[in-house]
Symmetry: C2
């Protein structure tokens, strides 16, 4: 059977990896279409808003990583038991995105002096600030981001932290035991463990 | 009766205004707590993640504007009739946020030469690119962002475009008739019209 689900993204983990994690966890067979960063300028005009990831699923074309993950989260029963739980997942995910945008802003800064300054702020202020707060959140929520149980937010965190680790070149959870344990828990889910063992090795 | 709902934000429209629009539309009485930008450094440490807006509602403390708007959208029956409609709202809102972040990045750029460069890119490339695409989306969707009917995404667009207008100093919908009509439609809803007539006049 040919897969009816297609993910299009860079040959990278980035903000594609949380989608891949959720698809694997949900045993949704997908075509993992990857392209090199050099190919991006020629690909960009064919995308809905000049961005990836893109997901084709159930005959629908989706864009925006968080929106895609939330949609998959609902399909997989990982989107909270009520509006308040769902909102807590959304708040955590958008907070992780705030951090991720700072990581990305540093990574792609073309001007070397500015990049060094951004690196210092990121490593000494932004990253510790967010990681401490998120670690406390996971502690309060019994080892998960929300309501003491697995949600698509946890997959979002684990997927995006792989990318952030690549950028800063260390495990961002290393001084944050609750986040480290959460990441480990996601990575040890059989479907995710299998995916990680076979996924293409990339630098981002 | 004293309001049990409190919004805390800058004395600005910014990303607080879509929340104010939704609260007004839903006839949810709220305390509109505003502070000057100069007060922000002393306020920041008391916020959950160093960010505003914050909403207290139903005894719950919320942060992250899109998450708050989505939560209110669900309460008000403005969050789509099914998962696919909800996802389309999410995709549109996150796309508007991508644009808004570019507007904000230009606005707060401290270095004058870089700011001029960002302004050119914003006005000649980014803004027309997004506005054309979003205008086409609204055209396809019968005058709304999604599914030919009012959703929280439409309030999000109208609220945030007030802020973007302030930054670029013109009506960003002026060459985009479908978006202009959508914005007008939102602003002419009786509750929003009343709010706009009485809201504090701000520069952002």
């Amino acid at each position: 059977m040919s897969p009816t689900c297609k993910l299009t993204y860079f040959d990278a983990m980035g903000i594609g990896e949380p989608i891949r994690f959720l698809l694997c966890y949900g045993k949704i067979q997908f075509e993992d279409i990857r392209f090199d960063f050099e190919k991006w300028p020629s690909m960009k005009p064919s995308t809905p808003y000049g961005k990836v990831p893109l997901l084709e699923i159930d005959g629908k074309k989706m864009h925006q990583s968080a929106a895609i993950c939330r949609y998959l989260g609902k399909k997989l029963g990982l989107a909270g038991a009520n509006d308040w739980e769902s909102a807590q997942i959304d708040m955590a995910v958008d907070t992780i995105t705030d951090l991720r945008l700072k990581v990305t802003e540093y990574y792609w800064e073309p001007e070397e002096t500015t990049k060094q300054k951004k690196k210092e702020t990121l490593l000494n202020e932004t990253l510790p600030f967010y990681m401490e707060k998120l670690d406390a959140l996971v502690k309060e929520n019994g080892g998960y981001l929300v309501a003491g149980k697995l949600s698509w937010g946890d997959f979002f965190f684990a997927g995006v932290s792989d990318y952030m680790d690549c950028v800063v070149q260390f495990d961002i959870t290393k001084d944050h035991p609750n986040l480290a344990a959460l990441k480990k828990k996601i990575r040890e889910l059989p479907a995710i463990k299998e995916w990680i063992s076979k996924r293409p090795k990339t630098t981002l």
